[in-house]
């Protein structure tokens, strides 16, 4: 999977506005296969919009988006999308296994056996460490476990790309670290994009950071220094330094 320079996601001159209000302007972004991308930026800056454009849930006003070389809508079934666990009805009557099996709903084909699907769902549960919770009720899980169940649901459809919306929101830090360990393991097999409000998160697994505030710039993690953050957030905030390895691609931020 790591054979580099195959672009999984390409955005070219993408503009998007909502009710006449520009949200994203002239976005050019290439994400290569096997990367582990963190998407950060202020509220209302367009992080979630960017994610939804890549998923094909929104259509840009102009510009082109390609995922695996095709328009997003045609390949959305190959993208594993993991929304925030908070948006779900906490009383929804289903077991963890029921939820994971929902990930396979669009992939039913003739000849694909139910036993095969169940095995894939079991594997997905094992990958997120939830096998012992298989028959537990979704209602009885903690926030971090619910988030992991949703990851397993995405994995059950055998995706080539994983997209996360705020995986660590309302999850305690131990559970958050556990989530990132799982993601790092999955990153060996697939490209991963993670949206986060949290700037201190940039943990050593992440290869590049995409900063979104109406415009989009991509930095290798090592290049995310104070001035960028101030440009992004408009104020000085304390910074946690993480990985100091410098990527060969260097710093591609031009307007900061």
């Amino acid at each position: 999977m790591q054979n580099s320079k195959i672009a999984d996601i390409v955005l070219e001159q993408v503009y998007f506005s909502y009710n006449g209000e520009p949200v994203l302007e002239n976005v050019n972004l290439t994400i290569d296969r096997g990367e582990f991308i963190g998407i950060i930026g202020p509220n209302g800056g367009g992080k979630t919009t960017l994610l939804r454009l890549i998923l094909g849930l929104l259509t840009p006003d102009s510009g082109t988006i390609h995922v695996f070389g095709r328009p997003p809508k045609e390949v959305s079934y190959r993208i594993g999308y993991v929304p925030q666990h908070l948006q779900f009805d906490p009383r929804f009557p289903a077991t963890v296994f029921d939820i994971v099996r929902m990930g396979q709903i669009g992939r039913r084909r003739f000849g694909r056996q139910a036993t095969e699907e169940k095995r894939a769902a079991d594997d997905a549960l094992a990958a997120v460490g939830l096998s012992p919770y298989k028959n537990k009720s979704f209602i009885d899980l903690s926030g971090g476990q619910r988030q992991r169940a949703l990851i397993a649901r995405a994995l059950a459809s055998d995706p080539h790309l994983l997209l996360f919306d705020e995986p660590t929101a309302n999850v305690d830090s131990t559970a958050g670290e556990k989530l990132y360990q799982i993601l790092a393991e999955l990153n060996k097999r697939m490209t991963i994009l993670v949206v986060s409000h949290d700037i201190g998160f940039v943990n050593h697994h992440i290869t590049s950071v995409v900063c979104v505030n109406h415009q989009v710039v991509i930095h290798p993690t090592s290049a995310l220094v104070g001035q960028n953050i101030i440009d992004l957030y408009g104020q000085d905030i304390s910074l946690v330094r993480h990985d100091h390895r410098c990527s060969g691609e260097g710093h591609s931020c031009s307007n900061s």
């Binding site: 849930l57 999308y81 009557p93 009720s137």
Partner: protein, 282 residues
Amino acid sequence: MLEFINDLLKFPFLQMALAASILASVACGIVGTYVTVRRITYIAGAIAHCTLGGMGAARYLQTELGLSFITPLTGAVFSALVAALLIAYLQARSTMRQDTILSAVWAIGMAIGLLFISKTSGYNEDLMSYLFGDILMVSPFDLVLIGALDLFLILATILFRRQLDAIAFDEEFARLSGLPVDLYNTIFLCTVALTVVLLVQLVGIILIVALLALPAATAGRITSRLPTMIMVAILLCIFSTVGGLSISYTPDMPAGATIILTAASIYLATDTVLKIKGKLKK
């Protein structure tokens, strides 16, 4: 209660009412569960109240203009389907708030019904039976229709359960998986509409909302998977309708109101028991 059992053996109209209660409960348990987990009991409520418009207009056309082929049932089917499709369309396309759409459909439908009913000669008893139904007046034809609806609902849930569950849990994810979510939703709303129409004939507009919402809500408290929730909701529906019917019989109370209060009592009792259990655990 004893008198009810005695008379049940004697009078066919009571036997029919009992059969109608059980058949209607199957439909209520299935549709009620999905409507509850999707949090759209208000859509069912809006469609139910909108049928008053259709029934009123049909009654007017039938008695005042002599169009004998138009019956209140056809009027109700028509208005319920129009309401369902309108709600589905507006939800997908309009920026109006969902509760505004529902309130509007709800009130406009009722207003149309009231206008037509006021201009139709005859007794206003029609209005009362539309609102509250009369389970003791069920015809064999009604039973056949509800039986057919039950069959359709059972088959549809068995065949499409996984799709329905996935959409109910996370519509967006289902869409991304490639499911034709809008199509499913439209068919689902039309099914809700048809269920509402057939049951309104039996139990009335107000009772139908209670029968969809209350047994499913109780079932949701004591089960943790959708299939069991549906089963329990059906059983609770049967218990409420048959129980309400038998309680109301001897004192000659309105059956519909007694059924609603029975279902509500079951919900409250379950809720109280669960709360006490929860406290004891701590």
